[in-house]
Symmetry: C2
Subunit: 367 residues, 2 copies
C-alpha cells in the first residue's frame, strides 16, 4: 500500500487528533475527509467489534441540511421512496436518484421536523446535486452542510457504554429512531443506527468544539468494557451485506439493481426526479442485481477495481467487495450478477489479479 499525502483538501475531522493517538494505521478518503480503516489490523479490529464496543470517527458521513417551507418537497424530489408518512424523529434509508434513475447516493435521511432534514451521506457530493435542484426549481429551502460530526458507538456492549453517558433512556431508542439527549449541557440527537450489524448508535455531535470532550468521556466511561477506537470494518460489513456506494454501486445502477427496489414506491413518490425512468424498471424488474458471493480457496487480495465474473467465456457480472472471513472460513464477497446467473447455488468464476477462482452465488448474506 502507498502512503496518503496530507493536505487541507483532504479534510481532518474534529476527532482526528484522538484517532491518531489511538494508533490509526490506514485511512481512506470519504467525502474529501479522512476515514480511518485500520487500527490494530482489519482482523483484530473485527474480532474486537464483534465482542466489545468501539467508537468510530465517521464525521465523513457529512450532513446535507434541508431547511425551509419546501424542505420535505425537495427531499421527495431526491428519492423514489414515499416519504409522506415519515414522522419527525425517524431515520429512513433512501436511495437518491438522478433523472435517469441512476443512484447518486444511499444516505440515511433524518427527519428533524416537517421543515427540516439532515441527510447523512455516503461518498458523493449530494450537497451539490441538492443545491442545483433547489436553485433550478426555485424552492424555498436552505441547503447547507452544517457543523455536525458523527460519532458511532458500535458493538454488543454499545448500550452499556451509552447508558453510562446518556442514562437508561438511551436503551429505549428503537432501531432507526432517534432521540434528543444531553452531554455537558449540550443537546444532541442520538440514533440507533450505524454501519455494522453488531448494534449500536450514532451520535450527531453539533459543533466541532464538543467533539473531543465527547470522545474522551466515552473512553473514560468505557474503560472496563474494553472500548477501543474502531472504524467500519471491511470483513464485518461484507458478512452483513452492507453495501458501499462507489464500491458496490455507482450512478450506473438503479436502486432495483442494488436490491433496494422494496424501498422504491415509484408510483406514489410524486415529484421524484427519477420517477419516469424508474417506472419501467419497477414494472419489469432489473436485469442484474447485487448478490452475496462466496469465493473458493485461500484469502484473495483486496478488491480495488471491479473483477469480472465469468460463466465460461461470458461476462455475467462483477465482484466489487471481497475479503477473507475468519469466522466463516471463506472469502465473503459482494457482486453484481446478471439475471441469467443470479440464482442461489449458481457456480461462476471470477478473474482476480491472482488468477481465476470458483464462485458460488449465495442465498443470503452471512450475518
Amino acid at each position: 500500500m502507498a502512503e496518503l499525502s496530507p493536505s487541507r483538501r483532504i479534510r481532518r475531522t474534529p476527532f482526528s487528533a484522538r484517532v491518531e493517538v489511538a494508533g490509526v494505521k490506514a485511512y481512506t478518503v470519504y467525502n474529501r475527509m479522512l476515514l480511518p480503516t485500520v487500527f490494530e489490523s482489519t482482523e483484530a479490529d473485527y474480532h474486537h467489534l464483534k465482542k466489545a464496543v468501539q467508537v468510530w470517527d465517521v464525521a465523513c458521513e457529512r450532513q446535507v441540511e434541508l431547511r425551509g417551507p419546501d424542505a420535505s418537497r425537495l427531499m421527495q424530489m431526491l428519492t423514489p421512496r414515499d416519504l409522506r408518512d415519515v414522522a419527525p424523529g425517524r431515520c429512513v434509508y433512501v436511495p437518491i436518484v438522478d433523472e435517469t434513475g441512476g443512484m447518486l447516493n444511499d444516505p440515511v435521511a433524518v427527519k428533524l421536523a416537517e421543515d427540516r432534514w439532515w441527510i447523512s451521506i455516503a461518498d458523493s457530493d449530494l450537497l451539490l446535486w441538492a443545491k442545483g435542484i433547489c436553485n433550478g426549481y426555485h424552492l424555498d429551502v436552505l441547503v447547507d452542510e452544517p457543523d455536525v460530526n458523527l460519532l458511532a458507538v458500535q458493538g454488543p456492549k454499545a448500550e452499556d457504554l451509552m447508558e453510562r453517558l446518556f442514562g437508561a433512556a438511551v436503551r429505549e431508542v428503537k432501531f432507526f429512531r432517534f432521540g434528543e439527549f444531553h452531554f455537558q449541557g449540550r443537546a444532541m440527537n442520538i440514533a440507533r443506527s450505524g454501519y455494522s450489524k453488531q448494534g449500536g448508535f450514532e451520535i450527531y455531535a453539533e459543533g466541532a468544539d464538543i467533539a473531543m470532550p465527547l470522545w474522551d468521556a466515552l473512553f473514560e466511561a468505557g474503560r472496563d468494557l474494553d472500548v477501543r477506537a474502531g472504524c467500519p470494518n471491511l470483513i464485518e460489513r461484507i458478512e452483513g451485506g452492507l453495501l458501499s456506494y462507489g464500491n458496490d454501486m455507482t450512478d450506473n445502477n438503479t436502486p432495483h439493481e442494488c436490491g433496494l427496489g422494496k424501498l422504491c414506491d415509484t408510483h406514489a413518490a410524486m415529484g421524484c426526479i427519477g420517477r419516469d425512468a424508474l417506472l419501467r424498471v419497477a414494472k419489469e424488474g432489473p436485469v442484474q442485481q447485487i448478490r452475496p458471493l462466496e469465493i473458493a480457496g485461500d484469502p484473495v487480495p483486496l478488491c480495488d477495481r471491479a473483477w469480472p465474473l465469468m460463466a465460461g467465456d461470458k461476462r455475467v457480472g462483477q465482484v466489487t467487495s471481497t475479503i477473507w472471513s475468519p469466522d466463516f472460513g471463506v472469502n465473503v464477497a459482494i457482486g453484481m450478477v446478471r439475471m441469467t446467473h443470479w440464482d442461489p447455488g449458481t457456480r461462476l468464476q471470477v478473474e482476480t489479479p491472482e488468477g481465476l477462482r470458483d464462485v458460488t452465488v449465495r442465498e443470503s448474506f452471512w450475518a
Copy 2:
C-alpha cells in the same frame, strides 16, 4: 504519514498500472480517483521537473461534458466570466460559483464547438451541480462524464518530447489553445496547459484502451531526454502561485478573494447564477484575498489544516499551503489575508504545529 487503503471507490486510472511500475510512493485522492504525489521524493521530483520532462497521470482531472443546443447557455450560467467571445479551440480558466458567489470549482473549460464543452475539473463534483442546474432549468443539454483521461507532459523539454510523437505542428499550439493530433490512428485534443510553470501540454486521451500505449510511446520516445513519471509538485506549484481548490479556497470564498476578480465580468455575464451576489463584491472589492507569503526559519511541516495568521493577538487570515523551497531557500506559502494586513512587506506570525513563526506578505509569487 498513514497508508491509503485500496478500494474500488477510490478509482484507479487507466495509467495506474504504469504509475505503480514507475515507483509511486504516495497518493492523494482527487475527485475520488488516485493522484500520485511523490515518486523519488518531493524535492528530487521538483529538481527533475525544472530541468527535464515528466509525464503525469492527471486522469483525476475528470471532464464534465456539456453537449446540446443549450450547452453554451449552461456554461455561462456556471461562471461569472463572460464567455460570449470564446471561440471553439480555446481553453478558458473559469471560476464556477453558486448562487451566493461561493467558489464551487476552478476548472479549465475547453470549448470544442458551439454546442459542446469539456470542463476539466478541480476536486469537487461539478458534475452533480451542472446536472442539477440543467435539470432544474429544463435545459437541452446532455451532462456527462466522458471516458477522457488527461496525461500531462510538463517541463522544459516537453516540446521536444511531444514533437517526436505528434510532429512539429505541436510546437505551434499557443498557450491555452488546443489542436487535434493523431496517435496510432486516433484523434486526440492536445492543449498547451498544465499545472506547472515549466511549460508543457495536456493530452485529452479519449478511451481507456489508448492510455497505456500513449504512456509507453512517450517513455520510449523520450529515453534520451530523461523523461520520468511525475505529478503536480507541491514545491513548484506554490513557488508559481498555482491555487489548489480545497486547499487555498473553498465554497466559502468568492473569486475576488482568490485573486480571480479580473476573470469576473459580472455585469456582462448574463445568466450567471451567482451574478447578483457578485455584483456587490465586484463594486466594493473583497475584504480578504489570497497572497504569497514567506515563512521564516527552517523547513515547516506539511500543512494539513488552515494555520491561523496572526497580527499580535488578532487573527487576520490563514495559511493553507506551504513547503520549503530549495531554490529560494525559504518556506514558500499561500494564504488568505484580511485587507488591513495584506500589503506587501507586512510582517505577521503564523501558528504552525511547531509553534509561532514570522511571516512576510510578498509582492508576488516566486516563479
